[in-house]
Amino acid sequence: MWLRRFARSFSGGVFAASAVVNGIGIGVVVVLMLLLVADVVLRRFFNQPIRGSYELTQLIMAIVVFFTIAYCAAQKGHVAIEVLVTRLPQRLQVVIEILMYLFSLGLWGLLSWGLSLQAINVWRMAETTNLLGLPSYPFVLVAVFGSALLTLVILIQLLSLLAEGGRR
């Protein structure tokens, strides 16, 4: 009972957060498009390329990817193969699903941790981008944030499945 209430109250917040963050991620795709079009036009016709557009593209991509993965998971948008599982008995399906959520949780938890270590490393070494000299660590932090949010989404999905599965 408490589990269901907890999952429900917690899930609203996490899903809303993932939707907002996703909004930033997809908005940045438009920025990337405009940046590159401007770069091509300026370079071809005015011989004035935008300085560092190559590395800006890479940095923007960190935002695009890591800000959209959590929302995609919240929408169950990550592809999986369904042919076999749907033929198994209902109870077994729930057990398998719980197990798969646990595995996914493990993977993204580890990845969030690994990326944090990487962010600390990059920060300590004061790494910067080649041309513009921007510090790299904030963008690794974007990756940490995105995968941590994805981990949370998976956790919520696991908890609500447990709460529901208990009733079935």
């Binding site: 996703n22 991620g25 997809i26 908005g27 795709v29 438009v30 990337l32 498009m33 405009l34 940046l35 590159l36 079009v37 770069d39 091509v40 071809r44 190559y54 593209t57 890479q58 940095l59 923007i60 991509m61 960190a62 695009v64 990817v65 890591f66 959209t68 993965i69 929302y71 995609c72 998971a73 929408q75 948008g77 990550h78 592809v79 999986a80 193969i81 369904e82 042919v83 076999l84 599982v85 398998i96 699903e97 197990l99 798969m100 595995f103 996914s104 493990g106 993977l107 993204w108 580890l110 990845l111 941790w113 690994g114 990326l115 270590l117 990487q118 963008f139 690794v140 990756a143 995968s147």
Partner: protein, 436 residues
Amino acid sequence: MSPVTMGIIGICILLVLLFLKMPIGFAMGLVGFVGYWWVRDMSPALSMISLVTYSEATAYMMSALPLFIFMGWLAAYGELSKDAFSALHRWVGHWRGGLSMSTVIACAAFGAVCGSSMATAVTMVPVALPEMRKYKYDDELSLGCIAAGGNLGFLIPPSLAFIIYAILTEESIGALFMAGILPGLLLTFLFSVTIYVLCRINPQLGPSGPRASWRERLVALKGMWGIIVLFILVMGGIYGGFFTPTEAAAVGAFGALVLGLVNRQLTWRRFITTLLETGKTTAMVFVLIIGAIIFSRFMTISTIPVNLARFIGALTIPDYAILAAILMLYVLVGFFMEIISVLVITIPIFYPVILAMGFDPVWFGVLAVLTMLMGSISPPVGIIVFALSGMVKEVPLFRIFKGAMPFLVAMFVCLIILVAFPQISLLLPHLMLPYR
């Protein structure tokens, strides 16, 4: 235990996880991590997965993906397919089965601005189906040709499948794009022949429509200019080395946005939907690729691909028999999985084998994509057919599968022609400036 044994156990566990419905990218990442840990150690495995994840997400080559996805959705919601269809309709609509041929050719034209087979097929339904129904076309033929035509979205550049193949193999995106053009046109032609033959055998399937005057035809061509200009801009830019595939994608997306606005089809609400779809597809594809690359790092240290290549190289079976076996396997796997998943799972293992046998990797990319596409319109897991049946609920699923069957034969014929004449795939890439 030898690394090869560990690798084989890893592959088996991966297959189990996949069939237990773990998201494909997650499963590959997890097995890749645990396998790496098993062969090496915990801490190198942890730093490998975090490095791969960050560096792949921010690799310049990968940035072409979200932009081409964006371009495709913009073209879809800007209804660029409508104009293409109505133009072609006036040119060949009066032939028997002419509307179906217009549909297939319009799919090819739309594929020239859209990189996904799903988007191509799905956008064609509201455009072409009502028209074909108006002229009493058989639903089986109508939906079959839309499903089959959708495949052209992946063969004719820009193509997400080719970008992903290029990323996984470190081949040139531009070369693969060029390689897809002639095979895509060949397949369009074969699909049209299929429709012609079907309607010859049974004229009830696709009666001839009204004949348009030459004046009407020329006027209708106006609807095509947008797509043509966009295609020439994007592909011409890559072909001539004017810009990188990423820049081409940005220019293409921008062009599709402008065309959609000129069309007055791209409302604010549709634009938001376009962005949401773009975000979802991007996230899905990146997770798949990142998972695949983590998995392939494990495969590399397990030495399976190298040993497999050496083993196959030492066999006395002719190379073409091995190629045939690999392609057969793709047909089979394609029956159960959609193409991007098949690509990310198998390319890390088979690519070294193809190189070892001395086959051209660009040519193989075209063959692999075409073979995997067969599964998307055939049972049991034909995702394009599933999507169509979700949109057209009154037609039973098996009838759409049945309608797509003759087109599968055409795809098979196309495959044989492409294997026999590698020049069809390789002519354009070899003419391209920065390549070779």
